[in-house]
């Protein structure tokens, strides 16, 4: 049975178990987000997606990404109050991540030209907004190498206990999803360093170009994502080999 609700006075049908954000997006109503990723579990960490929800007599400001839709719900995505709350949260995030283009752009869009707050002192991961997208992506891949540790001011993201974690394979997915790109990844011709750990790279057996880390390949083979006899060649050398095979067939 579908659920009927109103978003910005528009009547909308949704399925039970759906959340306000996804239903609104389907209707082409955009709600800003920083910590949302459609392929990862929702968290509600950045609090940029705030909306006003009225259910019967109750009215509240809440996050659209993790609030389930309910019959008869009335959602307002663009009231002065909602805009005010979003702007305040953006101002706080902007202070945490002064150099992150994604945060700066969204802040400017929401009318936050500068921040009255200061970045946390002695932050080991400058520009991190604690959205935990990295933690969620890493867990989704089955590595579970990252965690948010500490509370309040001291909360930060890293390898648990700040010790080398065997769980990390150096795949770099955490960096790929990070909205502020604040995670350091350094690559040489033979190694990749991330979260303070250095990984050996698998190198193309024809030209020597880096392909992936040894640990990522081993994990992918163990989980049967890649075949046991996975071919260690870079894409260009794979193409050349394919063109040679094709040439020998057609000519």
């Amino acid at each position: 049975m579908s659920i009927r609700l109103w978003i910005d006075d528009r009547e909308v049908l949704a399925e039970p178990g759906e959340r306000i954000l996804e239903v609104a997006q389907r209707q082409g109503i955009s709600i800003p987000t920083l910590c949302h990723h459609p392929a990862l579990p929702v968290l509600g960490a950045c609090r940029v997606c705030l909306v006003e929800v009225q259910q019967g007599k109750r009215r509240e400001i809440t996050t659209a990404c993790n609030t389930l839709v309910q019959e008869g719900m009335r959602v307002a995505t663009d009231t002065a109050e909602v805009r005010g709350h979003r702007a305040m949260n953006l101002e706080l995030l902007r202070a945490r991540a002064p150099e992150a283009p994604a945060v700066r752009e969204l802040a400017t869009q929401l009318g936050v030209a500068r921040s009255r707050f200061r970045p946390p002192a002695q932050n080991p991961l400058p520009n991190c907004i604690l959205c935990e997208l990295c933690v969620r992506a890493c867990a989704h891949l089955g590595h579970h190498a990252l965690a948010a540790v500490g509370r309040g001011d001291k909360k930060r993201i890293g390898l648990p206990h700040n010790r080398p974690a065997e769980a990390c394979v150096g795949c770099g997915s955490c960096l790929s999803v990070c909205p502020t790109r604040c995670i350091l990844l350094k690559e040489t011709a033979t190694t990749r360093t991330i979260w303070g750990q250095t990984f050996e790279l698998v190198r193309c057996k024809s030209c020597g170009a880096p392909v992936m880390t040894e640990a990522q390949r081993a994990h992918a083979i163990r989980t049967k994502q890649l075949p046991e006899d996975h071919d260690d060649t870079c894409e260009l050398c794979k193409q050349s080999a394919a063109s040679q095979r094709l040439a020998s067939v057609v000519w």
Partner: protein, 130 residues
Amino acid sequence: MGCRTCELACSFVHSRAGALGRPRIRIHAQGRGLEAGVIKDRYLQLTCLQCAEAACAKVCPTQALVRDETTRAIVLVAERCIGCGLCEAACPFGHMHFDRQIRLPLKCDLCGGSPACARFCPHHALEIRP
């Protein structure tokens, strides 16, 4: 002919922020070089085969590579991608390239049904058929 106009057309339509993209189609020369002053090279055009059982889509941990029902191409839904790079390792033909700067794979999407490589080929050697 080996003029590589298709590579350029592909780079051009897939350019980002004014910078030429990396072509998703490539010309590979196969041949014997010069013989008595005549070029004896022959050229092969290689691009994504949009495999029926696509290794890239199969390995993707977030189902970010999906079949477009109209064009039948395997296309990247960038919002779902978490940038792990496994698709590049999985493609046996080398048509998946994981861009380490933007941290997304680059993939032939058949330009939504009207591929620039075919449109710009001056010799009409490339053609799209249903």
